[in-house]
């Protein structure tokens, strides 16, 4: 089984957003980056598929040199190969997907895994775009995967429940938290990752279809009132919810 995992390097969840002077991107000063959390779940799933069926797991990331840090983490977790599709320009989801799809075409994996979304732009598009570009079926927001002969039976989250989806291979899957519990890289894994090389190649050029014209901070909510410190203010709260907020 040949598995590819596409991963992204994103500002960590503690990051407070400041708009940079260009008005469309975040100020990167002091921002720490991490492997996008859902992508970590995708890597883990790839490793489990390999442990069950043998084969090879390749991690791919499209972006600048900083993405090597995230690819290094994938190697430490146990992927066999890491490929950086180098590109420093600002791409939208379509252009990222096109760059990944071009590389995946020559890799021809049986299963391509993604996180359900990157936690920076939250676009939740790249995995499904890649699948469509490669003419593959896909399932998104996957919380359970059972790989069988020529197909995968998986469960994905929908509003108020789960869908059981049968998907013919080769196919792409977008991982949701809960699919597995990602392993911590072992000390041995971390040491081994240091000696593995990251293959670098320029990312295939692609058009940007969605242009960001402004980045803003949402209007901050005005802090309301603290009504009190014990249950004696419950009637007042209920009155406000009924008369002022009109939510009950």
């Amino acid at each position: 089984m040949k598995v590819a995992v596409c991963i992204n390097h994103v500002p960590d969840t503690e990051t407070k957003i400041k708009v940079s002077s260009d008005g469309v991107t975040i100020d990167k000063t002091g921002v720490n980056y991490m492997l996008s959390p859902y992508d970590e779940v995708a890597i883990e799933e790839g490793l489990r598929i390999k442990e069950r069926f043998k084969g090879e797991v390749t991690a791919l990331s499209l972006g600048g040199d900083a993405h090597k840090e995230t690819l290094r983490k994938a190697l430490a977790m146990g992927v066999d190969k890491a490929v950086l599709l180098k590109d420093d320009s600002v791409r939208d989801s379509f252009a990222v997907a096109a760059g990944l799809a071009a590389e995946l075409k020559s890799l021809s994996p049986d299963i391509v895994l993604f996180g359900k979304q990157s936690i920076d732009y939250d676009d939740a598009q790249v995995g499904t775009l890649v699948a469509e570009m490669l003419g593959m079926p896909s399932a998104a927001v996957v919380v359970k995967m059972d790989v069988q002969e020529g197909k995968v039976v998986c469960e994905r989250e929908i509003e108020g429940g789960h869908e059981v989806v049968e998907t013919k291979l080769p196919a792409a899957f977008l991982a949701q938290k809960g699919l597995n519990e990602p392993r911590y890289p072992s000390l041995k894994g971390i040491m081994a990752a240091k000696n593995k090389s990251i293959e670098e190649k320029p990312a295939a050029a692609a058009e940007v279809r969605v242009e960001t014209t402004a980045l803003k901070k949402p209007t901050p909510k005005n802090a309301g009132k603290i009504l009190g410190t014990d249950k004696s203010v419950v009637p007042e709260l209920i009155r406000l919810l009924h008369e002022e907020a009109k939510v009950i």
């Binding site: 939740a124 896909s138 998104a140 469960e155 509003e159 059981v164 809960g178 279809r209 419950v234 209920i238």
Partner: protein, 324 residues
């Protein structure tokens, strides 16, 4: 002349509320552009239900009604939407940013050589073009986006574009798109509906618990208040990571983003990741012992008290009030 097409999602041959929102908002854009408008429904045995979209601004509904489409298939549905958009000559295609819509829109975009602006929370029309506004970094930021391709696809976040039905009639036209086995690469075999409470992303009221509950055994306090209000149950990342609650209840940056009418945060301090996922709620109530907790900076109404004392009292009194 441009033309606007809106896809309305059916589950069990019933429209999702987000579909009404999408149809109505897309119709609004069509009116501003002076464009024609049609809605699209896909499924099996749907001609009757399709009429309902007349109450949401669709005078014309295209229905692709085939027995083979009774079970959802993202590959087949995407092909149908793209083919109908081409036949109709649509230059703008709208879908709800529901789990189904988010799964279809990228495929539709590739098929139509279109860019997709996903999860929009606002739309504006300027110079004959549509600008979408969408949250990034789980709502810590908002971006304005323009789609540069000839055909443009937008998905709209549920629960944001509010609608009320207004009596109207729709003409339903049947259309068919030839499909082969190859179009059904991915097919839904079964839908497992979670029993009981509404999903946090769809609930009008969400009651969430955090570490202040001190243990999973105390979450019945959250559930009881949610049930009195007919709301959904949410949780902070801390308690999901601790295994007290399932992943699908997590609200925040690596969980669900919610925007209910009322969000009740109980024993949640309000880490930046949590605030990102819920601060667009219309009204926020916070109950937390620590009066300096960041949750009070976004709360409309706060009680800086013991959640074990306040919560049962609130539940009991609300129950009495609502029974009246």
């Amino acid at each position: 002349m441009s033309k606007v097409l809106a896809f309305a999602e059916l589950r069990d041959n019933k429209f999702k509320k987000s579909s009404f929102e999408t149809v109505k908002a897309a119709r609004g854009v069509a009116d501003k552009l002076g464009a024609e408008f049609a809605a699209l429904v896909i499924g099996s045995g749907i001609e009757g239900v399709a009429m309902e979209l007349g109450n949401y601004g669709a005078a014309r509904v295209v229905a692709v009604d085939e027995a083979s489409l009774a079970s959802h298939s993202n590959t087949a549905y995407a092909k149908i939407i793209a083919e109908v958009a081409k036949k109709e000559g649509a230059s703008l295609v709208f879908l709800p940013a529901s789990q189904m819509g988010k799964d279809l829109a990228p495929r539709v975009g590739v098929k139509l050589e279109a860019g997709v602006a996903c999860d929009c929370v606002a739309l504006s029309v300027a110079d004959g073009d549509v600008v979408g506004t969408r949250p990034v970094y789980a709502g810590k930021g908002l971006v304005d986006v323009r789609v540069k391709t000839a055909i443009k696809v937008f998905t709209l976040r549920p629960n944001v574009f509010t609608v009320k039905p207004e009596e109207g009639t729709a003409t339903v036209e049947k259309a068919s798109v030839p499909l082969t086995d190859a179009d059904f690469g991915s097919v839904v075999k079964e839908v497992k509906v979670a029993e009981g409470r509404p999903d946090v992303t769809e609930a009008d009221i969400v009651v969430s618990g955090g570490r202040g509950l001190k243990g999973p055994e105390h979450f019945h306090l959250i559930e009881e208040l949610a049930d009195v209000l007919g709301g959904g149950v949410g949780a902070s990342r801390a308690v999901v990571d601790a295994g007290w609650r399932p992943h699908d209840e997590q609200v925040g940056q690596t969980g669900k983003t919610v925007s209910p009418s009322m969000y009740v945060a109980c024993g949640i301090s309000g880490a930046v990741q949590h605030l990102a996922g819920m601060s667009s709620s219309k009204y926020i109530v916070a109950i937390n012992k620590d009066k300096d907790a960041p949750i009070f900076q976004v709360a409309d109404y706060g009680i800086a008290g013991d959640v074990f004392e306040v919560l049962p009292e609130l539940t009991a009194q609300l129950k009495k009030t609502l029974e009246k």
